[in-house]
């Protein structure tokens, strides 16, 4: 989950998963999820392995954020989407490079590496995967 806590250790621990779109696969119920964590969100099993998730998918649903937390203010409005990746994994991520009046359910999207948030003007810049529409 996205927990918006200004924590340097948290962003450091998450960096591999956020930079490379690494999720978890449950060895018990076979579910895949993102980001990686030590226990399965579906069945609670602790038998989890890391998995490189596919970089392409489809936007299933989205919401537009007009009143973000103050650190995101210059970004408003921005889009948070529910994406189904090619292997069926569902993830929540920001949608970028698209206008709020152009975004549509069902569009094909691909993973891109972007600035996710900043822990204030003198703090750490967090990077991670967002999704943009595939142009063609």
């Amino acid at each position: 989950m996205n927990t918006f806590i200004n924590s340097v250790p948290r962003s450091w621990r998450e960096r591999k998963y956020k930079y490379r779109l690494i999720g978890g696969i449950c060895k018990k119920c076979n579910a895949t999820f993102y980001p990686y964590r030590g226990s399965c969100p579906y069945c609670g099993s602790d038998d989890i392995e890391e998995v490189n998730l596919p970089k392409k998918g489809r936007l299933i649903s989205y919401t537009i954020i007009y009143s973000p937390p103050s650190e995101f203010r210059l970004k408003q409005p921005y889009i948070v989407g529910l994406i189904e990746l090619e292997d069926g994994t569902r993830i929540i991520a920001q949608i970028t490079d698209v206008d709020v009046n152009e975004v549509k359910d069902g569009i094909e999207v691909e993973a891109v590496f972007r600035r996710y948030r900043e822990q204030g003007a003198d703090g750490i810049i967090e990077y991670g995967i967002k999704f943009r529409p595939i142009s063609d």
Binding site: Y19, K75, Q94, D97, K130
Partner: protein, 346 residues
């Protein structure tokens, strides 16, 4: 400087999707919209910086290289717009690729830093210190609002994977030559947000003198003439300078055709000559010889002679081409531009 058995085995470029027309900038500042240096320039989105652009260019370069990142021994990033004053971009890129046992460092020399990174990786590969390395030029350049530079300061990145010559090479380095002097044509002091420049000083004693000297020096050393090159790429702060430079050195418009992109995307600073080279590689024939000459204020130029190898044929289509990025674009007005460039004070 002679180079032996060092080749480009992967290359990739990136240009953000957003563009602003120079006529729109001219409208805001009351300037004649027809007397502007480029048609339009690329603008990084709010969530982009020189590091995120370098990542996309490098992932494209890796797709073309057909190698596993494990053999990479160095990542050198040339930029004058790093996201942090202190904290390297190179280590973040290494983390994205999942490699740690490498040399990773950022380099700064205005618009020349990308080619200097390239020269350093060539040296490390050529000496046998590493098997392969990555050289990156990337910038999200800023001009002070209303300043002449605002019409051209743009964003883009290019990344090159350089290795010992093998049988799947895209192009091979033939030689390199550098030329530097202490010339105060453009600078930015610590803590200052925008650079300053020496107006007329930026032309003759800076851009033209250094590129001319590096190009001549390389051609003399290798015994080559302008007609030996199929393509030429110069640093491109606008359209006028590289066009005039080509003429002065004895190159024609046809040789400059693929390497001159500033009319479409503006001046991408440390990425400019390297994106130009990427577009040449997107279009060149096997056996073509390419001259690339960068320029960075302060001041210096690096020249390279590069010969296209037949690996280009199978690798060219493995990643998006420069014109795929140039043609996908969204125009923004000056208000959105100011928001993206964080020139609005909250």
């Amino acid at each position: 400087m002679k180079i032996k058995d060092v080749s480009i085995i992967g290359y990739g470029a990136y240009v953000p999707i957003f563009r602003i027309k120079d006529s729109e900038i001219a409208r805001v500042w009351g300037r004649d919209p027809k007397r502007v240096p480029v048609n339009e320039k690329s603008v990084p989105g709010y969530d982009e910086d020189s590091l995120t652009m370098a990542v996309e260019a490098t992932l494209n370069a890796l797709k073309r290289s057909n190698i596993s990142p494990d053999i990479i021994g160095a990542i050198l990033v040339g930029s004058e717009s790093p996201p942090y004053a202190v904290k390297p971009s190179a280590t973040v890129i290494a983390e994205v690729l999942g490699v740690s046992r490498i040399v990773a460092v950022d380099m700064e020399f205005a618009c020349r830093a990308g080619t200097t990174a390239m020269q350093n990786v060539i040296g490390m590969v050529g000496s046998g210190m590493i098997e392969a390395g990555i050289a990156i030029g990337t910038d999200t350049a800023q001009g002070r609002p209303g300043d002449e530079l605002e019409y051209t300061a743009a964003a883009g990145a290019a990344s090159y994977i350089i290795s010992k010559s093998g049988n799947d090479d895209i192009a091979r380095f033939e030689g390199s030559f550098s030329y530097v002097t202490d010339t105060p044509d453009f600078w930015r002091r610590e803590g200052e947000r925008f650079p300053r420049h020496g107006y007329r000083f930026t032309g003759e004693p800076a851009y033209f003198h250094h590129i001319y000297s590096a190009a001549k020096g390389l051609m003399d050393e290798l015994g080559l003439k302008p007609q030996d090159f199929a393509h030429v790429v110069f640093h491109q702060p606008n359209v006028k300078f590289p066009t005039r430079m080509a003429k002065q050195l004895g190159f024609n418009k046809e040789q400059l055709k693929y390497g001159l992109l500033s009319g479409y995307i503006g001046n991408t600073y440390a990425a400019a000559s390297l994106i130009g080279l990427a577009n040449v590689l997107d279009n060149a024939k096997v056996g073509d010889r390419i001259l690339v000459v960068s320029f960075g204020s302060g001041a210096g130029s690096d020249a390279f002679s590069i010969i296209v190898e037949d690996g280009i044929l199978s690798k060219r289509d493995l990643a998006p081409k420069v014109f795929d990025y140039i043609s996908r674009k969204k125009y923004i007005d000056y208000s959105i531009y100011s928001k993206f460039r964080r020139n609005i004070v909250m």
